[in-house]
């Protein structure tokens, strides 16, 4: 509000200043006496070689010369308005005509004022149409300058608007893709969990209950964060824990897991559910194939300006066999959020097992 008021005050002051200037210019022109010009010479201003004019003549010339500049200022908004609409299709012709009419009208007005002041009381005066070509020659500079200024301002505005629009579109596309990818709470996982619940109903109703409740937690989290692309590491780990608890039931005692995250890292920002495909990979490629089961360890650490997230498993999975849809989506999501400032690597652990490692630029959620 205060900004708006300040802008209004500034504009009013500018208008007053301008009006005052215009009145002063006309008054000057009227007060000062016209220099003795050879009648019908067609030249408004004396040549430079002419004898030095006196102060009154100078003031007179200043007044007359100023008129056209003031008029140009009046024409500026009309020209700007026209320029802005020139490439918007539809009313293009209309815009050009209106801006053109404004310019012509103001030119005529300034010429008329000059004409009146110039030939006031002169014994011989040309008719107004006869004077116009001379006025055109004299006033060409202000009008050309005006058009130049308008063109410069407009092209600058367009360039900036173009950049802004481009950025906006880019963000929008990235956002859309993010939402689409997040929506993929891997269906494979979802339906296998439902199958698990269905199986447990026949064997162990309490376990089925437990699994159903964990799945509900997961879906609630998903719905809650649907709108936001980034969550705190704390939230992400809560989600991952729920995910692993469901997997524990799915794998029936063959899965053990650890989550090692220092409290200091909890407010780091990460893309929502970014660990899910990596964990799922560790389970199906790493642990799932082992009769005796295995261990999954989730680790987070800070390395200078980066957050490092790791998913370890001690399975036998082949690194190359893991580059499935899940990983591809994860890479794409990381790129959409962080450009080239991120990486996702898979490597083998000795004696056996695999580590998936994500590096992200460190960002922190403001304390709430």
């Amino acid at each position: 509000m205060t900004d708006l008021a300040a802008t209004c005050r500034q504009r009013n002051a500018a208008i007053l200043l301008w009006l005052g200037g215009l009145i002063a210019a006309i008054a000057l022109g009227l007060y000062a006496s016209p220099p003795a010009l050879p009648p019908g010479s067609g030249r408004v201003f004396p040549r430079m070689s002419a004898p030095a004019p006196d102060v009154r003549t100078l003031l007179y010339m200043l007044g007359i010369g100023s008129i056209v500049w003031f008029m140009a200022v009046v024409a500026l908004p009309a020209l700007m308005w026209g320029a802005r609409r020139v490439d918007r299709g539809g009313n293009r012709a209309q815009a050009v005509i209106i801006a053109g009419l404004a310019v012509v009208t103001l030119f005529a007005a300034s010429s008329a004022i000059q004409f009146f002041m110039l030939f006031r009381g002169a014994p011989v005066r040309p008719s107004f149409p006869e004077y116009l070509p001379a006025a055109l020659r004299q006033d060409l500079l202000p009008w050309v300058a005006l058009v130049g200024i308008v063109a410069a301002i407009e092209s600058r505005r367009r360039a900036r608007a173009g950049v802004v629009e481009h950025e906006r579109l880019r963000a929008e596309v990235a956002e859309q893709r993010l939402i689409a990818l997040t929506g993929q709470l891997q269906p494979h996982f979802l339906f296998n969990t439902l199958q698990g619940i269905s199986t447990l109903i026949h064997r162990d109703a309490d376990a089925a209950d437990e699994m159903l409740s964990r799945l509900s937690d997961l879906l609630r989290e998903l719905l809650r964060h649907r709108e936001s692309g980034l969550v705190t590491l704390d939230e992400e780990m809560r989600f991952t824990r729920t995910f692993l608890e469901i997997a524990e039931i799915r794998f029936a005692d063959r899965l053990r897991f650890d989550i090692e995250v220092q409290t200091a890292l909890e407010r780091a920002l990460v893309p929502l559910f970014i660990l899910q495909p990596l964990v799922e990979n560790a389970l199906s490629h790493g642990i799932g194939a082992l009769a005796e089961g295995g261990r999954v360890t989730i680790r987070a650490s800070r390395d200078a300006g980066a957050l490092v997230l790791e998913v370890h498993d001690d399975g036998t999975g082949v690194v190359s066999a893991r580059e499935g849809v899940g990983l591809r989506n994860t890479r794409e999501r990381l790129r959409a959020s962080f450009g080239d400032e991120q990486s996702l690597t898979l490597s083998s652990r000795s004696p056996h097992g695999t580590v998936a490692r994500i590096r992200l630029p460190w960002r922190e959620s403001p304390s709430s």
Partner: protein
Amino acid sequence: MNVLRVVTIDDEPLARERVSALARETPGLALVGEARNGLEALDVITRLEPDLIFIDVEMPELDGFGVIAALEVSRAPAVVFITAYEQYALQAFEVDAVDYLQKPVTRARFAAAVARAQDRVGQAETQWRGVVAGAAAAGRARGHRTRFVVRRGNRHHFIPVSHVDWIDAADNYLQLHVGARTHLARGTMKQAEDELDPAHFLRVHRSAIVAIDRIATVESSDAGTWDITLSNGTSVHSSRPYAARVRELLR
């Protein structure tokens, strides 16, 4: 009516448990085996030669389609695919399966699949060719082949394509030459040519495909054919219809 011998295959223990339980309680079915991944499935099916298999499509390493494409059995089983996610169902029909089940599997839907299987078990042999070809096509649709599945006794193994020096044909099998060893894999030269990455493998003869990076020398022989020597000393001849491809290699 004969009792159908059933094998269930799923990497998800709970999913396998349910399907096996349904198989046990269904009259006319006898559960004879279970497998928890693709390679194990090949072993179990080869050893037990079941009449009917329930196989999960989505399994790590070797998926349900991969198992079917690699399977060599004298008696073809009827195949019911199980899928967590609908998009695979269509492919399952393309591979001419008896039926497909979506997770979670219900008793009624399971019974319907069994009924279809009982109708079709008699004609399983004629269906089988279509099932195998369809499964191979489904595998191809997912990119170049990265490995072969070979059988040694009752065990199945992966042979990465990068280990293969060259391949020649033997009836309906491929002989994969890996160093000093030779493995038999199911498939035809045409299939192998289609499935392998043309950047790494070149068919030089009606019955020979060579790994391009194993080629040591290429000499032109008479009548526009080529003598190819591999880095391990093996010599392979190109035949005229494939000569142009060898020539292209030299450019």
